[in-house]
Amino acid sequence: MNTFLRKNTVLLITLAVITALFIAAAQGMEKKDFVITLLRGLAVGSITFLVASGFSLIFGLLDVLNLAHGTLFMIGAYIGWTVFVRPDTFVDLLTPLALILSGFALADVYPFLATRIRLGLSMKRILPWALILVSVLIFSFILPRYPISIWDVENYGQSPVTYSFMADSGTRLPAPVAVFTEIAAPLALIGLVLASMIGAFGLSLFNSETQQQFKLTWKNFAAFAILLIVALLTFIFNESLTAVLTGLSSNWLFLIAVVVATLSGAGLGALIESTLIRPLYIRPIYQLMLTLGMSAIGIEIVRSVWGRPEFVMPKPAFFNGTGGVCPATNFADWWANNCSTILLLDGRVRVYNEIFIPIIGVIVLISIWMLLQRTRLGMVIRAGVQDREMVEALGINVRRVFTMVFGLGVGLAALGGILAAPSMGLSNAMGESLFLNALIALAIGGLTNYPGAALGSVLVGLIQQFIIKYGQIGIAIPFTDIIFKPTPPLVPASTVLLMVIILLILPNGLLGKKE
C-alpha cells in the first residue's frame, strides 16, 4: 500500500487536483444544471471513448497511428443514416457490394493460380496492372448503369436533408424504383463478379511471396459462396425486402442501422488493413501518409455521395415521444409514452442524448474489457501490446489478429458514428473534431492503456461540457463582482491545455505505464 502511494504520487496528486476542480465547478451552479452538465459530459465522453478505444487498440498492437479514424467514425454515421432513412437504397446497394467483395473473398485461391501461370519477366510486371485496368474498366462500365435508387445532392427536394426531415416527421418519400439501363441484369451481375475476381487477382500478384499452403479445400470458397448467395437473394427479393424494412418500426430500423454501420466499419477496417496497411509495417512513417490520404479520400467520398450540408438523423420512436405527460417526471411515465425528455431535479434531460448514449458507452466499455480479459483473442492482444515479438515467437497467426483488431477498432469508431448521428447530426467535419477529442483523451489517459482511454474520454467530455455551461451562466470570480463567461473557443482550448499540462507532468498520461 505504502509503496503504491509512493510510486504513484504524481498520478494521485493530479487526480486529486482534477477532482477538486470538479467539486469547485459543482459549487458554482445549481443542482439541476450540474446533473445535466454531468450527463452531457458523460455522453460526449462515451462517444469519444468509442473512437479513442479503437484507435488505442490499433496503435497499441499494430503500432499504426490511424489518422483516418475520425473519418471512419463519420463514414459509420453516414452509412447508418442511409440504412435508417433510406432502407431502399441500402437494399439496392447490397447486391453490387457483395459482388464486388466476392472476388476478394477468394484471396487464398490466387496464389495457387499464380503458380500455374508461367510468363516472361516483363509480362509478369505488366500482368497485374493490366488485370487491374481491365477490372476498373468493367466496373466503370457496369456500375453507372446499375440501378440504385438514391437521392440527389444537387436537388434540394430530393436531397439527404429533405429525406431526413421527412423521416423525422414520419413520412418516407418513396423514391422511384431504379431499373437497369442499357445492360441486361444477368450480364451486369456476372460482369461484377468477374471484374472483382480479376481485380483482386491483379492486386494479389503484387504480393510476390507465395504462401506455401497449396491445398485448396471447400473452406477457401465458403466466403465467396456466401457472398454470392447473399447477393443473389437480395437481388431476387429486392422489392419485398425493401417493403419489409420500410414497414418496420423506426426502433427496429435503428437497431439494424446500428448493426449494419458497425459491421461495415469492421469490414472496411479489415479490408484496409489487409490490403493497404499490411505492406507498410516496415515503413512506419508512410503509414501516416497512407492514413492521411485515406482520410482525405473518405471525406471526399462522403461529400460527393451525401453532399456538404449538415443534417440531423431522426431519433428512433422509442426516444422521440412528445405531448401528453411529456416531459416525463418518472420512469413509468417515460416508459408508457417514450418521452424524448424527462425531468430530473427540475431539469429537462434528453433521454437519447444524455441517458441512452452514456449507458451504451458503459456497456461497450465492459464488453471490450471482458473481451480483453476473458477471451483468447483478448489475451493475444494484451500480450501483443506488451511485447509483439514474443507473440510472434509463440507462433500465433499475428496477421489474422492484426486484421481482426483493425476491424474491431474501426467498427467501434463506426458504432460511435451512428450513435452520435441522432444527437450530433451529420456533417463533413464531424470526424475531425471528434478525432482531436479522442487524441486528447488518449494522451491524457495513456496512449495504449484501455482504462486510460475511458478515463481520458470522460475527463475530456466533462471539462468541455462544464465550460460550455459556464459560458452560459458565467463564473463569479471570488471576492469581486465580475462574472467571467468562457467563450466557445475556450472549450477545445481547455482540454488541449489540460493535455499539455498532464503530459508535461506525466509524459505517459495518467494511467500509461512508465518506461
Partner: protein, 343 residues
Amino acid sequence: MKKFLSSNRASLITLLALILLPFIVGLMDGESPMAVLANESGNAKFAQGLAIEIFILALYALSFDLIFGITGMLSFGHSMFFGVGAYLTGISLKTLGLSLPATLGLVFIAAIVQAILFGLVLPRVKGITFALVTLGMGSVFHIVVMSSELGPYTGADVGLQGVIAPAFISPANERIRFYFIALTILILVYLLYKRFVDSPTGRVCIAIRENEGRARMLGYNTFYFKLAALTLSSLTAALAGFMHTLYQPIVSPNVASMGFTVTALLIILIGGVGTLNGALVGAVVYRLLDFGLRRYIGESASFISGAVYVLFVLFIPFGIVGTWRAKSFQINQGWQRLRKLFG
C-alpha cells in the same frame, strides 16, 4: 571552377531555368521580356505568382524537414511556426504600423521565443508524446487566432485582411521583384540548410535521429542540438509566414491549423524525408498537383489528391528524391542503354 560547374550542373540548370521562367512563359504568350519586367498582367505574371507560392511552401517544407527528416522529431504543431510569422507580420504592419525591417526583426524574435517554448518540453517528452504536446500547443495557437476577442487584430475565422505590403515589393505592381526576392531567399536558405546538415551540428542532429541514446552516450547533450534545429526551423518557417502575409491578400487561419502541418508532412513525404532537395521537389509537385486538379477537376480534387498520396506511399515509398537516389544506379544504366540505342 570547371569542377564546380560540372559537379553542380543540375542545380545550376535549375537555377537558370528559374531565373528565365517568367520571361519564357511571357515569350510563349507573346509578351516581350520588357513587358514582363513591367509587370503587365498575363500568364507570365500568373506563373510568377504560382512560383512564389511554391517558394514559400518550399521554405516551410524545408523547415519541417529539418526537425522531422533530419533531427527525427515529429512535431504536429509546426504550422504554429509559420502562423506566428504570418500573423505577427500582419499585425505589425497593419495595426502597429511598423516598418518592414522592424517587422522582420519582431518576427525573428518571436520565432526564437517560440522555439524555446517548444524546446522547454523537449527533455520531458519524446516521440509520439512530443507529437501530441506540440499538436496541443499548435491547436491552442490556432484557437487563439480564431477567437472573436482578437478579431480586430487577427480577423478571427475570416482571416487577416488588408495588410499592405510596402510599395516596392507590392505583389500586384512589383511582382517580378517579389519573385526574384523570394527566389533569392529560398536559395540562400537552401544553401544555409545544406551547410547546416553538413556541419558538425547537423551531423549530430542526424545521429540523434538515428539513435538518440547512443548520441548521448558519445557525450552530446542532445537537448542543445535539438534546440538548435528547432530554432533554425522556427526562424525559417516564420520567414515563410512573413513572406506569405506580404504576398497573400488574406491570411487564412488555416495556416495555423493542424491541416497545414499535414501539408508540410505530405510535401516531404512526396519529395523524400530527410533529403533537402526532396522538400523543394515535394513543394513543386504538391502545389502543381493541387493547382492542376482544382483547375481541371474542380470540387472533388482532394479525392484525387488523396488517392495520389496513397499510390505514392504504396509505390514510391521513399519519396521522389529518396527513390531517385536509391535507384540512381539503375536509372543511369537506363540512360546508357538509351544513348546506345540512338548512337
